[in-house]
Subunit: 472 residues, 4 copies
Amino acid sequence: MLKKKPGAAGTSANPMWGGHYIGGPSVIMAEINASIDVDKRLYAQDIRASKAHAEMLAAKGILTSKDAKAIAQGLDAIQREIESGVFVFSSALEDVHMNIEASLKEKIGDAAGRLHTARSRNDQVATDFRLWLRDTLDELDAALKDVQDALIDKAESNADLILPGYTHLQPAQPITFGHHMLAYVEMLGRDRDRLSDARKRVNEMPLGAAALAGTSFPIDRAAVAKKLGFDRPMANSLDAVSARDFALEFLAAATILGTHLSRLAEEIVLWASPSFGFIALSEAFTSGSSIMPQKRNPDAAELVRAKTGRLLGAFTALTVIMKGLPLAYSKDMQEDKEQVFDAADTLRLSLAAMAGMIRDMQPQKTAMAEALEDGFITATDLADWLVRAANLPFRDAHRITGGIVRLAETKKCRLDQLTLAEMQAIDKRIAKTVFEVLEPVRAAASRTSLGGTAPDNVRRAARQARKRFLKG
Amino acid sequence: MLKKKPGAAGTSANPMWGGHYIGGPSVIMAEINASIDVDKRLYAQDIRASKAHAEMLAAKGILTSKDAKAIAQGLDAIQREIESGVFVFSSALEDVHMNIEASLKEKIGDAAGRLHTARSRNDQVATDFRLWLRDTLDELDAALKDVQDALIDKAESNADLILPGYTHLQPAQPITFGHHMLAYVEMLGRDRDRLSDARKRVNEMPLGAAALAGTSFPIDRAAVAKKLGFDRPMANSLDAVSARDFALEFLAAATILGTHLSRLAEEIVLWASPSFGFIALSEAFTSGSSIMPQKRNPDAAELVRAKTGRLLGAFTALTVIMKGLPLAYSKDMQEDKEQVFDAADTLRLSLAAMAGMIRDMQPQKTAMAEALEDGFITATDLADWLVRAANLPFRDAHRITGGIVRLAETKKCRLDQLTLAEMQAIDKRIAKTVFEVLEPVRAAASRTSLGGTAPDNVRRAARQARKRFLKG
Amino acid sequence: MLKKKPGAAGTSANPMWGGHYIGGPSVIMAEINASIDVDKRLYAQDIRASKAHAEMLAAKGILTSKDAKAIAQGLDAIQREIESGVFVFSSALEDVHMNIEASLKEKIGDAAGRLHTARSRNDQVATDFRLWLRDTLDELDAALKDVQDALIDKAESNADLILPGYTHLQPAQPITFGHHMLAYVEMLGRDRDRLSDARKRVNEMPLGAAALAGTSFPIDRAAVAKKLGFDRPMANSLDAVSARDFALEFLAAATILGTHLSRLAEEIVLWASPSFGFIALSEAFTSGSSIMPQKRNPDAAELVRAKTGRLLGAFTALTVIMKGLPLAYSKDMQEDKEQVFDAADTLRLSLAAMAGMIRDMQPQKTAMAEALEDGFITATDLADWLVRAANLPFRDAHRITGGIVRLAETKKCRLDQLTLAEMQAIDKRIAKTVFEVLEPVRAAASRTSLGGTAPDNVRRAARQARKRFLKG
Amino acid sequence: MLKKKPGAAGTSANPMWGGHYIGGPSVIMAEINASIDVDKRLYAQDIRASKAHAEMLAAKGILTSKDAKAIAQGLDAIQREIESGVFVFSSALEDVHMNIEASLKEKIGDAAGRLHTARSRNDQVATDFRLWLRDTLDELDAALKDVQDALIDKAESNADLILPGYTHLQPAQPITFGHHMLAYVEMLGRDRDRLSDARKRVNEMPLGAAALAGTSFPIDRAAVAKKLGFDRPMANSLDAVSARDFALEFLAAATILGTHLSRLAEEIVLWASPSFGFIALSEAFTSGSSIMPQKRNPDAAELVRAKTGRLLGAFTALTVIMKGLPLAYSKDMQEDKEQVFDAADTLRLSLAAMAGMIRDMQPQKTAMAEALEDGFITATDLADWLVRAANLPFRDAHRITGGIVRLAETKKCRLDQLTLAEMQAIDKRIAKTVFEVLEPVRAAASRTSLGGTAPDNVRRAARQARKRFLKG
């Protein structure tokens, strides 16, 4: 929202860079240009990186150690002020870097002006942002692990629970609820891998690239990188200040994770609908209606489902921003942080909500059993029986089974409610043992191939998942 | 950002709908579910619509007029509290509707509980949101008009100023700066039309649809619609609470407008670069560098250019959210407002910045004149001369001109610096009068076809644009 | 797919523009640059516009009438060749314009070279593209009308059929199937309005803008516009060749329409799933499984649902392409057509599939009736009864009803299976007449407010929809 | 484009799954459902996977070795037919899998019907698609390496060439052209890493998941995975057929790569514009104009820049498609391949064009030298001199330099054209040695920090890049 009228008088130029300016920015310019409302969130990273920079400058004799010490103490004091809520951020100072440096000057005087030697806001902001994102990736990994933990628990306690597996939302074959839970454990496992791979490309240090070309001061970038936990200084100064692919990669991984969460959320919404009725959600993750007194709406699941849009929106926004930008830094790139912060917040909240919903949800055995009555769910088993017992080519077995299904549809009965004679009228090779495979529980138990849904498989897979994903 | 730890104790159920609940939401649920931080921005619309609703209920005998009066006075008092900053919004009450109703109850007691008769939050929020967007569309129309006004002024005062017109960023033909400004006036004119068309679909009233099915109370929707300035009540109650295409259409129009602004912003960035040097920007819309003391960066233009990403991100987000949602209301749709609010704010700020930049910018005649030396910019005029004077088919004239250009390239001179003999060596039909068309100023002046760049055309077009776009 | 190896020898320069070139394009350049595989689809529009252009050139004395006649006849012959499949498009000639002009030259000789007088490919392609899109918009309007027709038919024949209305996929209130169908009629009606509004901005003529600046030939753009059915020539030549907002607007409207189709498709998928079982789809719009012999999958609905992605993808692609392009024409814009063609094809196919599915689908009354047993679907009616009969504030009525719902949940019965005594134990004002409103059929019939779901309303709304949308 | 009228007669049901069908699909259904035009591109992968599957079935005694041999020979024959162009794909058979199986049946009879034992199209298509994408990733890696190779060559031969480095498209500090080239080498290196990381998640085998639940046949998935070069069979059958995050991840990495290519393409367009004039492009990668005979447009660069839109469009499309899909397979997912194929083709072509453009482009030393005259490009060096020589805090040095820049602006001269006296009037500490740092060549040479632009650094970095990226 515009905070001031466009026509109002402007402020004076930013003291940090306004040496060659006579006038100041227009009010609108101040409004569109300032990023402090967004980037103040980087204060801890900014201070941390400045301290490492100053320490290195002193080690290389570019600063006196006295100045370096004053800087470190001043920055610590500022951090305390910010964290206790007494620090006043000024929008005239544009961004978190300028706010902190200006405050440092008030605290320690001239030495503050020496801190910005051999660096620029271009490399500074990229460094702060990467530090922040690295921490965030670690938090998100833990949050994902927590959802996996909830899913594995639910899988183990429901390894035997049979329900229809669907394709096209039509009953397909019986599966176990545990198996279904473990499918999501796999997806989230790949999401964790993606974030971990992204982290490698986040964890490189731009600092020391200065504005774009490096510096003539004899700095030691490797030392600063080590101090800040970066894997290495970035190899090209232009690239260091121009690159935002690390942020795009995070947003892409977030979006893909969002699609997984949206699929699980969709299933929760479906399953919680009385027509399915496969789960009961806790009151803690539903809410009521202002008009319909009976409602228990799966709001949390719906919101998680919706958030995919927000994540794709963020990736889209930053891709459009970066498209066609010449090197090196352009102001367009200032828009990067809001998208990344929003995506990170969205994921944290969605993952926490999902972990809670999964832990609280109660599978409903009766509704699942009733649903197994629909859809001739063991038709594949009948076809497979024909292959095995009658040595038919699968394609012929499929066709014969199709005929039997059609008969059952006409008679409005389940496959196992047809008589042997009725089946034999369609194909005389059908024998009594066929009834053994028409039972959903047996059908599920028979799928013992690696990765299949048989309860013993599920128990084993859950144990392995615990080992693969939850250790360490 | 998560405001509380996931594991912390929950609150009790919302008193507005919690009658059948025993427990309350989890902390995470409260966090993900509450929209008050976003939708409080609808307070004025919510109050306005509630007053119209109550007035109608009283007119139809559903409320006593005493209750209706108490409600109206209570709502007015709440509005004053909100606008003076003393109202405290509670996140436990989830949204702006519940916050206002709860406060009304404190103020006027039981009558407050009668206000929600024959409506639901589903139709209420859709109504509030449409009222807000209608006002916003009107504001944006004025802001667009202001940019057009700045462009037309600039066009009139530079109707004669010649510079290279580019295709593929290669010099193509001489044009006037005024003509270039007017191209954007046309684009923004279509943007205004699009927003105006969108307004028609925004300005229909959902109220009275109640939760989704209408109501058995004998309400008068037409009266409420009239009171609120809506063109009509929506014709289908399910549609009324489910539809968000009005918001999508706004976001789409905003994105398209964003592409226009980004093109103009790109040109400002290019023109302000010394290699072009076609304009000087005011200090009011540039800023400096923390490391490079000489810089005057076109930050405002770069930010406007970047905002296209944000706008497309918003449209993308809401499209993803709406995709595949069954009727009627789903909680996913709560995510609509944040995207729309952000897009509206983005446009307001971008348009104001653009108007200011245009007004302040100073075209640089000398740099334009120098650039006209490059690129054989009157080659088309030479070809056209061959068509007219020598009656050649254009295609042949084009080929011959190509040969002459190649000669000039080899000689590193302009076309008009070739001798007649040199040209005649390529085609003997070339006569002395050809030199008349090789002058950029004359070339521009010759393009008098409707919509062409000739200065007289530009002056006329500017007058017409003023009439078409700035009246009323 | 790359058709040739990058290293292979190139071809010679395009004869249409290669006068000043010595070498030719690389093979890769030929591959990336040629658009003929895509834009040949514009052949009829290209020929139509060329004929109008030539006719005008002759009328203005720029061409002889003999040449104009030869051009017209030659173009007609080319059109016949293309439509009979004998015309050979050459990728070395890059695009449809050059292919047709080169063929014209073979047919009629030098006169062909005069056709390109006072125009450029820049204004030519924009004109062709707009003509094509205008026709397409008209076709899509008819296709949308056909879907509306199918929906209105289905609504009328099911005006009395009661099923649960859902919010959050939880049973909310009883509605009629006809009412549900009509909700989509409204949405598609707005989609038609949007396409119709877009058509206004499509139907303006770029031709005569030439490369970017207009022309010095004394052309008559108004005459050409009239001949081609355009509302007017575009007012600014730079804008005329640079603008693609008309294409973006179409893609945006297509995407929004896609969200509506995806919602209906989602409901078809849900309703066709046995757990809902609300409709039976025809075999004509389902397909089977290669492994599960019993399957009848709602493939058509799923594909329609998916197509939203493709449509948003197209809008996104073109927005990114246009973002930040300086005026006037840039080659980037060549990518516009493929997106628009694909979106148009997608919509045509999706709309036809949707019309077929709607016409064929059979609502299943029994399944709907069973679903009405769930979810205490008349709880709102109970609350409204308390307001009307007991004069309670709605908010109190809501709370009391919540308590009654909780009792019914505990007893696992419907609301109307509670005894009067049980209800009175919760609130003693409840009287016997309450049972009258607890019946779903009566509840639906009571919602007679404008736009409400009562069967008589639905019948009336269907008649009105027929009048509003299907006439003319 | 619709190939038939919606109303026309349908075909009969697909013989592969139509056993329980009476009628056939509508014409529209056949049109929307068939994927053969797209997925036939998977034929080689489909045949390869089928052969491995059959071999395993035989090894496990599920097929006779005679049948397995017939199947293998039949499939080989089909592959030869497809590759020689004689195979006729039928759209009635929907997809590549059915086309090949039907042809196999014609060739070898009943044994063909045994091939589909213990698998489904769901796991089959996912397997084929992953095999295809794996090969594609390897091709793209080679194509990226080739662009890096071209860039490194250009960097080495221009390690000394000085031009202005820009931020905000304003001259910032002198850099070398080689340094600029190497910035892109770094970006593309990260792109290769991303594709390589994506490959890990592509290279897992779905086959053996059958429809969704695994199979009761005693298959050996590990053996098939080994045979096909997969790292492992996927651990959960539901996940195996439902997952498309591998495709999304590829599209995301492609989009991010696209942003890098678009930035380089933008710079090529800028540099090739006469106002910059920093490079000359070869005729092989430019093209001419149909109207302006002098043009050499950087079409290839513009098209590469535009393709970012197409790539983001593809990622967007598939994200929308996958959003909210319940497990396991839904037909929506059939839309995945077209997006991935298009993105892969786009990248292949863009990378080949970029490699060619880079190799051919000729840096223009004179134009670069002229541009170094603008923008007070050594102002930072002056400030740094003040820090070093006069021991000023950087912030003070920055302010003093700002004053000197303003003086030079007023005098319209370069910094080194001011006199010592003029500078000392601003700050008396300025000494004669300051002139040593005001020379752009010396300024560039002084930036010797790790990753800085000094020519010796660039030569060293190029050698290292060759080692890091081009070996093996």
